[in-house]
Symmetry: D2
Subunit: 356 residues, 4 copies
């Protein structure tokens, strides 16, 4: 199915991206990565699942790792402003003709009266309000390591048609904050916010629906550097896929990791306030070599090509639809692609160290 128009119904008032449920194939290996290496806080764990949260979180969890046969994303969870907004979500997606399920006891521990839908783009979304409160460990510095993850920051979704997806998210109440285009108007990626940061989710143009990454925030840049140092010390540096670096888009400092199943996790800090309704949209030229990395460091191909499959509400893999428009990788680093450091340079301003 594809998305065309919003229903004649109010969209739910989404507060923020709140949690992701990942299916992982080896719970012990995932625990080693998310708990021992990254230091996320365990709210609950049993033989089937581990519920994790960041240090400044007061709701039950930001990440659920559930044991399964095939690595995938079970849900993108959004918190809404009230229980009525959960109802609004159900009605909204029913009007869209989507599969909608409601669970009074909740689909996962700690959350009740939630609604799950398979949205028009094919992604599994959950909307919830009722949630167990847990201790906000913001002041518990004795528990926080040098790389403490303090917030869930955003999701990133891969989808073939970014313009179609952007209309869907705009109708759902998201504000577009930044995007990447070429001169012909092809859109390669776009960023969408509910809380006043650069995004709660983003769309990356590509074969989808797939999950590109889930991102946690640290307070400072050195926290991210420490995570790299620690992964080196653990001889797990091959978990580092890209970065650390400074994004052009969002102006945030970033690092991309891959968990034992290949799910991509970003560590992210210091984007900017976007809460005003007239917040200026920032559009980047796809050929600007500083758009993805402000320092011009190359984006590794796997970052463009790899992503996690998503599940429908019955737990089956959602089929992949191919992107028809140009791929960002092809137009920037492929045989016919190009990137510049300074627009208009007669010599293309490739970096000396450029490898691709």
């Amino acid at each position: 199915m594809t998305y065309t128009n919003a229903p004649e119904l109010p969209a739910p008032d989404i507060l923020r991206c709140a949690y992701m449920e990942l299916v992982v194939t080896d719970l012990a290996a995932s625990r080693e990565f998310y708990v021992d290496a990254l230091g996320l806080v365990v709210t609950h764990e049993d033989d089937e699942a581990i519920y994790l949260r960041s240090f400044e979180e007061f709701i039950h969890h930001n990440l659920v790792l559930r044991k399964g046969d095939e690595a995938a994303v079970a849900v993108f969870g959004f918190r809404v402003r009230s229980q009525e907004d959960v109802d609004r979500a159900a009605a909204y997606y029913e009007a869209l003709g989507c599969e909608v399920r409601r669970s009074e006891e909740g689909f996962v521990r700690g959350i009740r009266n939630a609604v799950r839908v398979q949205d028009p783009l094919g992604f599994p979304y959950e909307f919830f309000f009722e949630v167990d409160h847990v201790e906000r460990l913001a002041w518990h510095y004795e528990l926080q390591g040098a790389g403490a993850l303090v917030r869930l920051d955003h999701f990133n979704q891969v989808y073939p048609d970014v313009v179609e997806g952007a209309k869907y998210l705009d109708d759902l109440g998201f504000r577009k904050t930044e995007d990447i285009q070429d001169e012909a108007g092809t859109v390669f990626a776009a960023w969408f916010a509910r809380k006043p940061t650069v995004h709660d989710t983003a769309l990356t143009g590509g074969d989808g629906p797939r999950m590109h990454h889930v991102a946690f925030a640290t307070h400072e840049k050195h926290n991210i550097l420490y995570i790299c140092d620690k992964l080196g010390a653990l001889r797990q540096s091959d978990k580092i896929e890209r970065g650390p670096g400074r994004h052009g888009v969002s102006n945030a400092f970033y690092l991309y990791l891959r968990d034992p199943d290949g799910h991509r996790v970003e560590i992210y800090t210091q984007d900017y306030y976007t809460g005003d309704p007239d917040n200026p949209l920032v559009t980047w030229d796809v050929h600007d070599n500083q758009r993805r990395d402000w320092w011009g460091n190359p984006v590794v191909p796997s970052w463009y090509t790899d992503a996690s499959r998503v599940l429908d509400l019955d737990g089956n893999l959602v089929p992949i639809q191919e992107r028809e428009e140009d791929s960002e990788m092809a137009v920037t680093i492929g045989a016919d692609g190009f990137s510049y450091t300074r627009k208009g340079d007669t010599e293309e301003g490739f970096k000396l160290g450029n490898q691709v």
Copy 2:
């Protein structure tokens, strides 16, 4: 000529690497890089040369940029403990059969009674004690930018035979602190200190004599990140060749830049104390993917292949001698090379993001 044995004479007591004289082809472009972008302090400048120092320096300069037709390195300057040590240097190199020149007025401004030699490896070295003192700007935070360079940290020299070069530096009184070898004992690089840091100079195996880089220190890692951010803002991100990252060797945080002539400049912070005579030598396996970058990020080929030519005492380019032993690039990232994250992994632990 090659180095075999030390003369039967005392070596000069070298305090530290103190300054480098670079020949640059466009003084204005170099000023833009070293002063406007990197923020080094101008001690003196005229139509022919710019004398620069770091914020915590009290001697006249750490870098001389001299206008010339061909980019090259005119001298590696070392400060010695006394004027007698300058005499010892002259005698030492004369006994070695090297070209030795003395200048009472000094080869450059601010330094007097210095000796220059072309050493047995072919590099131009200067030894000096008498120097003009200038204000140490350590407390002048109002002048220091967010990326303040506070010390000259080290030189790095490219030379074909690292074992031969290491013997020369050892005889000259340097302590070897770290090296990179393979299982057969081939030495790919080694680090040598006089002041109690990891190095005042290093030898990188390769065609030489050439200058690999000159390194300045910042106080903290965020100062180095800022330099990247600023180069991005100036649309000069193509000056960033490699990094930022964490070295395995030295445990320091690093960034490699290329100046407008291609001279490589490292920004560096936080290695460790090496001043005890029994300081443990650290030997790295050339196939350890974390030796050059603790996070396993790839070393760009230009970093291995490019270096600056050096001048003899008459200002002529010193001829290049090819390295006969294996090259580090070939044994690690070439068709027959390999690197591991975890020694003994059956699958080679290449990073997902590895591009080479």
Copy 3:
């Protein structure tokens, strides 16, 4: 007048604290402080006023310095979601019986169709939507110093009756995030948010209405330390009133400065997300020595006693009303006051270094 009940009208939808207008007695001295020392960006300046903004701001200004005979606060400016909300604000305050003025051309440059009121507590508030956009300098690292101020974070107001003031702000749509109380329920201070940080404004119990401070945010803690270092280098360390330190309340890192007229400016970074409607209220015991400074460092008396007078809409000083309840300073550090590090310690856990 005092505040009792909200009018039967919708409150304006306030986005965030947006700017403060300060009357200063020496524009050149103030410029030296806010521009030369703190590095705020000049949007506009003339003989009568200087309009300043932070590096990530896209609206015309966050601070107006206006020349006048007596130092005071002319207005606390809040941005609302739409022009209709400006109308709502006018109606709301008219219904409250407050003095309300509207200006189509705007009370200050860059803002149009704004409303100013003297609120029930006596404070001058402005509500506006229409504003000139200016360049968001977030990516302009070449302009940002080591202590770059990136956002206006919050206001802090002194008022005798915190409970009364809290009701007023609650009715106006603010969420209370933290407060300080004693066991008897006396409220000494409270924090109130619209954007999802710990506050857009706060009430500090004391003689008022007065302005306690206006706060700007940096990205990292070292940026704040640099501001101290720079003030030392400028021999202006006597501008530092309190800190730097870690707040208990808000968990943020802080520094308090005093401008040439004695207006207090906080530099602040890294509080936590508060945007959920059920965000847990944090209540601190007034005797907890870590509430104001998590490290137990003493609060200087001037911080409790000094504040800036505020002006009514005609530019006259608003009369001061004395606080009748206990003062926080008296109950914590005075002859009959006490503070503890560990509640219930038989010895009062005063710091060794405690001076008061």
Copy 4:
């Protein structure tokens, strides 16, 4: 006894301050402070003593905590360049008429063939070369907390006559790097280095011989801030005596803690290179309010008055001799004292927040 002249013998070649032996009254409480809170690495522990080191150390220990009835300092340990230098130390102090003891098996674990002396000022000094090597944990980021202590940096000793003590240390081969004087030439404190930092030890004028503090280094300032945050989280903020802050003297960032017995520990980072023989001496005016804290924050009285007693070689407390010259506290913050922010200000430039 007092110090007048050096013996006609070569002084030992001291490398660096290397370890301190502290007598503590409650080993478990001290362990909680040094290991659990500060994170020092345990090399060895038993019922009588705990041997601790910093993360970049390769010798057996930097701190020995030995159980005893009365808190005191048993020894200031210095490492020398060779075993011959240990002999030189013995001869040097014997020539000075000092009590000298030698132990082949070593006075403490991990060290052999050491010499202990009670020096002319009354302090117990140890000189050693032979020492067990242990693993340098510099690369073990997985073990390093957010406040990792990476090096022992310096000692600080209290002694009545700083000029006399300075002559003794100068004869012993230390270089004076900074001092505090008044216009009449009274010396209040002085700093002395062997390794090329600002000091390996310092003399603080006051009743002595006593130990003022022992200092460990972190890599960055945020590591020190974290230690404060953690102590707050552990409700041990009363262990913080002074700081954090920026020193004027040394330009380092600092924090002073008090251990469970009241021994003072400094956490310190980022002073400057002092290894050249003509390194400029920095002399501070005792009335300069930025000399002790560059931000002008007040020095707490306990910092001036409290210090640890030292033991003679039989383990008895060394008697205290009173300082006859002015005390720094009296001339700066007492009734007749004064400090300025800007020399020559007609109004004394006291800080608004000044409490003393």
